[in-house]
Structure formats: C-alpha cells, structure tokens
Amino acid sequence: MRTVDFAIGIGGAAGQGIATPGNILAHIFARRGLHLNAYNAYQSLIRGGHTFLTIRASDGPVHSMGDRIDLLIPLNQDTMDRHLRLLGPGACVLFDEGSIELGDVAEGVQVSPLPMKELSKGKKLAANTVSIAAALQMLGVEFQAIEDALTRIFARKGEEVVAQNVEIARNGYDYAAEHFGPFHFVVPKGDKHLAVWTGNEATAMGGIAAGVNFYAAYPMSPSTGVLMYMASHARDLGIMVRQVEDEIGVMNMIIGAAHTGCRAMTATSGGGLALMTEALGMSGMIETPIVCVDVQRGGPATGLPTKTEQGDLWQMLGAGQGDYPKIIVAPTDQLDLFTTMPELFNLTDKYQCPGLVLSDLLIGEGTASVDPADINFQTEIDRGEMIFPNGDCDNPYGGYNDSTYLRYKNTPSGISPRAVPGVPGHIYVASTDEHDEDSTLISDVDTNPKIRVMMVEKRARKMLAVLDDLEAPKLEGAENAEVTLVSWGSTRGVILEAIEQLAEEGITANQLNIKWIVPFHADVVTELLAQCKKVIITEINYSGQFARYLRSETGFTADGFIRKYDGEPFMPHHITQAVKDQLAGKETLSVPVHEISV
C-alpha cells in the first residue's frame, strides 16, 4: 500500500520547456526511491498548443497517472484556465502572479503565487526552475537534491549555467519557505534509488539485451524515441542503425540483414506498419525472423499523432495477404516491454517467423520508475536451429552439405535448420513464391497441390508449438470476484488501480490480462472466463478490437465493455465508475468522458 501518493501537474505551451522540470522532478523522486508514473499530454506541433505533464509519485508501485493533481504548476494562463477547476481540497497551485491570473479556486486549495520576474531574474525559461524549487520546498525536499539534479542536467552547458540555475532555484526555494505553508505531507526518503525510463527507451534496451545488432527505422511519432536511443548508442554497442527512405524500405532492409544472420529490429507506428505488411508476409514465407514494434497512436490515417490508442490490433492480425505464422505480443508497461524483447527474439529465432509488439504512446512515451536490479541484460540468447560458418559445435555446418541440406525441410515441428549465407555447402534461394523443401519455386513450372499443402501446414505447425513456450494468462486478484476486468497491453496498469478503488468501495474485482495475442491461449482463456461472474473488457479504441478478437478465438461474449477513444488514456476513476455503473445495470458499454481538454 501507498502511504504517500501525489501528482504534480505542469502545463504550458509546446516550447515552454516542460521536459526539463519534468525530468528534474522525476529524478529527484526516483533517487528517493519513490515510484513514478508520468504522462505527457501534448499536441502535434513544435511550439504553442497545450502541453500538460502529470508526474505521479508514491512510496508504493503506481501504474497510471492517477486521478488527481495535488500540485498544479501552470506556466501559462491557458493551463490555469483548463486545470484549476479540477483541483480539490489539499491541493496547491503555484504560479507566476505577474503573468498569470488566478481563476475560481475551490475551497481548501492552497494558492501560492510567485513573484516570478524577481525570482527568475527575468529569464523566461528559468520560471520552470523557480517553480519546481518552490514546489520541492513545500514537499519537504532538501535543497541539496535540487542542486544535484540541476548540476547533472546542465553540466553539459558549462559551470556558469549550472551556477545560474542553482541560484535561481535557491530564490524559489527560499521564497516558498518564507511565504507558503508546507504541503500536508512530506516526501519520504526511501533507501533505494530507482531508475527512470520511458517505454521507448525500455524497448530499445530490451532489443539491446536481446542482442539486436541491426536496427532500421523511419521516424514516426510516437515511436521515434526507439530510433533515437538506438542511434545514440549504436557506436558504443556495435549496432548498425539506419534511417531508411520509408517504412517499406525499413522492413525489407531488416529482413535482408536478418537473413544474413543479424538480429534485426524496427519500431514504427500504425501508418508505418501499414506500409510494412507486405514484407511481413515475406518474413513469414521465407522464414526469416525479425521483430517490429508498433507504438500505437490515434488513428485512422494520420489521426492523432501525439495521442494514444489501442487501435492497431486488427491491422496487425490481418497484416499482409494470406495466412502465415507470426507472434504478436502486447507488453503492459515499460519493464514488460524491456523483458519481452529478448524473449520474443528467442521465440522468433526458434520458430523462424516475424515477431510483432503492440506498444502504444501511453507506455512508449510515458515515463516510469524501475528498480535497476530488474533491468537484466544478461538473459540467454537462443538462436534456435541456425547454422553459422563458425559455431562452437563439432560439426560447424550442422551435419549438412549441398546435397542433403533442405532449407525448408518438412520436419515434425515445422522448424527447419536455417543456414545463413556464406556457409559452404548450404546454398539455397529463399523465395516469396511458394517453394518446395529444397527451396525451389513451385508456383512456376510445376504447381503441385500436395507440396503446397505440405508447406502451408509445415509453416502453420510451428505456431502450435509456440503456445507451450508462452506463459498462459491467469486471473489475478481476488478469487470469485464480482467482476473480472479483461485487459491487454497498456490498459493493465490503470485497471490494477481501479481494482484497489473498487475494493475500497467494497466491490471485489479481479483482472485477466492477455499478453500473448497470437498465438492465443484459447483453451486456458475459455476456461478462466467460464469461472467469472461478470466479465468486462477494457480497451482504448472505438470498435472493441480486442473484444471482437477474443470472441473470434473463443466464442466468448463479455458482459460489458469499457472503451475510450478520445486520445487520452484511462484514469483509474474512469474504470471504477464504469464498473459501478455496469454493476448497477445502467449500461453495458461505458465510454468515460475525459474531464479536461488536454
């Protein structure tokens, strides 16, 4: 349980530099061992608009941005106007009294105006520093922590900048100490420093842990963070990183690299994935594994480039013409993204098929704390049945030679030993046309229905075995709960918190999160759901993509649905209220309204 749980909201226009104070706060909290979850609501433009960062911190795990703002720092009037009305008793608003007017404020809200011009010495961007220093003072954080953070962050800009910032921060800190009452609690100090990362960083690091040595991408929000992480670490880690002319080129390029033996990866968003689908079929057909991460955003088409959605499930399910084996996984948070990557790479190497990851803006760009001990890079790298020119085994070539090697050998498992180009004696031509075991085309001279059937079944057979390698979904939380909340991907976190809220109101709820989407644990899930009293499926899209997919695999029809498709993520109370409404029989489809125009 959490003894402290608070959220700071900082809002302004794009270009007002919200990233830095966010960064400072996150690191200060994490260094004290506080758990974090931060979400930045922003628009698709470089300057202007409205950006609102919510940093939530607690001494217990936090899985979402939460329901409220405890400390609001509006950097412009717009933010004040949008958010002030949502502050409740005990909350505080901290603002520049020189440039921003206070609005109607609820009773019990602490109003803390700052004479910003004076404190910041007229430096525009320094307003942020003043504000957070003041905030941290009120939260009982010692000045040294702030000084350390500023030093670290501005070190690159030289000592003078550091000194200036520290001085300005001091002004804010001292002013708050003198003029404002302290917050109604003090930020505790744990003994374990936590690390802070975004999901895109975690995805890239997971790829690195998996041994990725070829990364190609085309920039696309909200996936670009993965490219940027890879690009900036490429040289140190010996990774080939390429920005390609488009996503078609990306997918084909990583398939080429993977075919030679690299571990190859990309990340994109829905529009990029749309362009990759034809080549994904190639990966399936020639049995050359790659991994592609889709950091989903609001669709359709260009849609909402900087807003979240779980709208690409059916696109991924239907990616490319025809049937071919693929593995689809939907990690639930930043750490899950990290640990899933090496596991997925091992699976795709073992089963020689494409691996697809459903991430989204909420977890991809969202920030979370993580125990550094959980970031385990030393996982096993298992390439499956590959034949390299070297190899530690006695027979470096797997016992084959030109006349006995069948690249697409029809084995009982469907898995055929895979030689990489350059191995003497294993020559073959991988072909996207249907082919025989020895890789010759059958679509040309001699289309043979029997060979066709054999090869279709060989490829498909691989998927039967995968299921055994995947952890099956399980019910988490109270047994015999009144309600079971089904989730997939990033929605898992907020449900955990809604379940806590429901428990407080005397409603028992548990959760069934489904992580491995394809192949699907149909039997397990059917059995689990049969035990549940009332099943509600939650997801962030209009059409209930997961609800429909679940039914396609199991025939199961849920009792209720909670969906959101306004670009913003669920807050815990959205789920809690919807569950209560549905238990009361008011509705079976709830579409919570996002209270604030972000």
Binding site: M240, T260, G261, S431
Partner: protein, 302 residues
C-alpha cells in the same frame, strides 16, 4: 558487442565450369534475352574466381527476377520492387558477401524506383543488373517506365503517352559510382561489364537491354543489333560526368553501350560505418552486451 567474428570461410578450390549452374533450368521463353544475362553473370563469377557460397543473388518479382533460382549461389527472391532494400540490409549485415541484385525495369524503376534512388546515393556496395526489356513481362505485357512513347501494350492499347525514364542519366544524378549499359546480344562485352561491376567497391549499375521476345515487338534483337555501339570503341572518358550523360541520352540510330561512368573516390556505405571497421561480418558476431556496457546503460537512467 564486437568480439571478433570469423570472416567468410573460403576453400582453396577455384570454381569450375558448372559451379554456378542452378538446380532448375530457366523457364524463360525460348529466345528471351535473360538467358544471356544469366550466362554472362555465371561467366563473370567464374572468371573472378569467386566461390558460390561467397555470392548472393537477390531479386524482386518478374521474369528477370527469377534469375536467382537458376544460378548456384545463395539467393533471395523477394517482393516486387524490393530487391535493393533487402540487398542493402544483407550488404550491411554481411559486408563480405558479393551481392548481385537482379531484376526488371518494372521492378527496379517502377515500383522499386525509390529504393533505387536512395540505394544509389548511399553508394552501397552492390552490383545491380537490370534486365531492361521495356515491358512488364511476367504480367504478360503492360507498359513499363522505360517503354517508349507511342508503344502499344496491353495497358496502353492506343499507345503509351508517358515519357520514359532513361536509367543512365538517372543513375548519374542518383549517385551510382559505376554505371554501364549492356546488351544481351553482346554477351562477351556484357561479361566484362559485369566483372567490372562486381569488382567495383560501391554501387554498380548495369542497365541491360534484354529483349522480351514474347511481349515487346518493338525493341527486338533486330532493332537493337544495328544500333548498339560500344563506348569502348570510341575512347569514352568514364570520369567525364556531363560527357557520360550526353552519351547516356543518345538514342535512335546509335545507342551507346558500355561503361559510362566510374567513380572510385567515393567510399561505400560499409566503409563509412565505424561499426563495420573491425570484427568481421555483423551477422557472424557474438550477440549481446557485456556487463560493463549494460551497467553503463542503466547508469544513464539513474
């Protein structure tokens, strides 16, 4: 991690006459120009004393793109238009392979045009052989980006009204560093062009007139034979950019074939990538990061 990886294994054995003979006999129409291109490529590889497992042929989809199935090398028969993108990945994944990309005019200049432009400017170390028959062969005869104006095809029954692409000037501006034009009817000459292309470090492009005897009744052997003139016979300067372009544009009674342009001064992409400086082919390296490296990555988050 870049612990040293082995490089491509070689044996002392030289390739023999039929080392490059494929398992499958080409199913091209009798008389198709592509037979000669295949034979020329096989000869070039033998003469260069390359071993089949060192070589990889990569194609898209089309009659011409069936070539990898007919030659004994590692190969990939990819998607229509995507050969160069796949080959770029392969070339960086294993920069010790000799990669020959083969395909048609539709595959390379139509649907694949953008990869063509960008692969050229990156100067990837690839040899790109286009069997340019000015038609879509495999789909039974539609117009192609190199079909001349007025040509009647199944998709332009009243005659093509779009101006064709001229691949030679395009490649010059695009940044290819070895640019040649060959002709199926001059196989010996073609062998030399292909050898030069393979030996060239950087992006080599050979546009090859390779008549489609079934669907292109305009640009036949008979049409080409009296027209093609070898640049080698006229002392062409392969370092003269504008001179090469002017000759590339020549069309009509005289059509130059041969090596138009060669630039040895530009590094190829693999040479510019520090990651490939040492450690052998990326594809063969040991995967994963050291404890030291991962500690550093974690420290960055603290």
């Amino acid at each position: 991690m870049t612990t040293a990886a082995p490089t491509l294994p070689l044996s002392a054995k030289k390739p023999e006459k039929d080392s490059y003979k494929g398992k499958v006999h080409p199913d091209w129409c009798p008389g198709c120009g592509d037979f000669s291109v295949l034979a020329a490529l096989q000869k070039a590889l033998i003469e260069l004393e390359l071993q089949p497992h060192q070589v990889m042929t990569i194609s898209g989809i089309g009659c011409s793109s069936n070539l990898p199935g007919f030659i004994n090398t590692y190969g990939m028969h990819t998607l229509h238009g995507r050969s160069l993108a796949v080959a770029s990945g392969a070339a960086l994944g294993n920069h010790e392979l000799k990669i020959i990309v083969t395909g048609g005019d539709g595959d390379g200049f139509g649907i694949g045009g953008n990869h063509f432009m960008h692969t050229m400017r990156r100067n990837l170390d690839l040899t790109y052989l286009v069997m340019d028959n000015q038609i879509y062969g495999l789909t039974t005869g539609q117009t192609s980006p190199t079909s001349p104006v007025g040509m009647k095809t199944k998709s332009t029954p009243h005659g093509n009204v779009e101006n064709p692409i001229n691949p030679i000037p395009l490649a010059l501006v695009g940044g290819a560093t070895y640019i040649a034009r060959g002709y199926s009817g001059k196989q010996k000459h073609l062998v030399e062009l292909i050898k030069g292309a393979i030996m060239h470090k950087g992006f080599s492009f050979v546009d090859i007139f390779s008549p489609c005897v079934t669907y292109n009744k305009d640009n036949t052997y008979k049409w080409f034979a009296p027209r093609v003139k070898m640049l080698e016979d006229e002392n062409h300067d392969t370092t003269d950019f504008y001179g090469s372009m002017e000759k590339g544009y020549k069309w009509g009674d005289e059509i130059p074939i041969g090596l138009f342009w060669k630039n040895d001064k530009l590094a190829s992409l693999d040479q510019l990538e520090p990651v490939l400086e040492e450690g052998g082919p990326l594809a063969y390296r040991k995967l994963g990061v050291s404890k030291e490296q991962s500690d550093k990555l974690i420290a960055e988050l603290m």
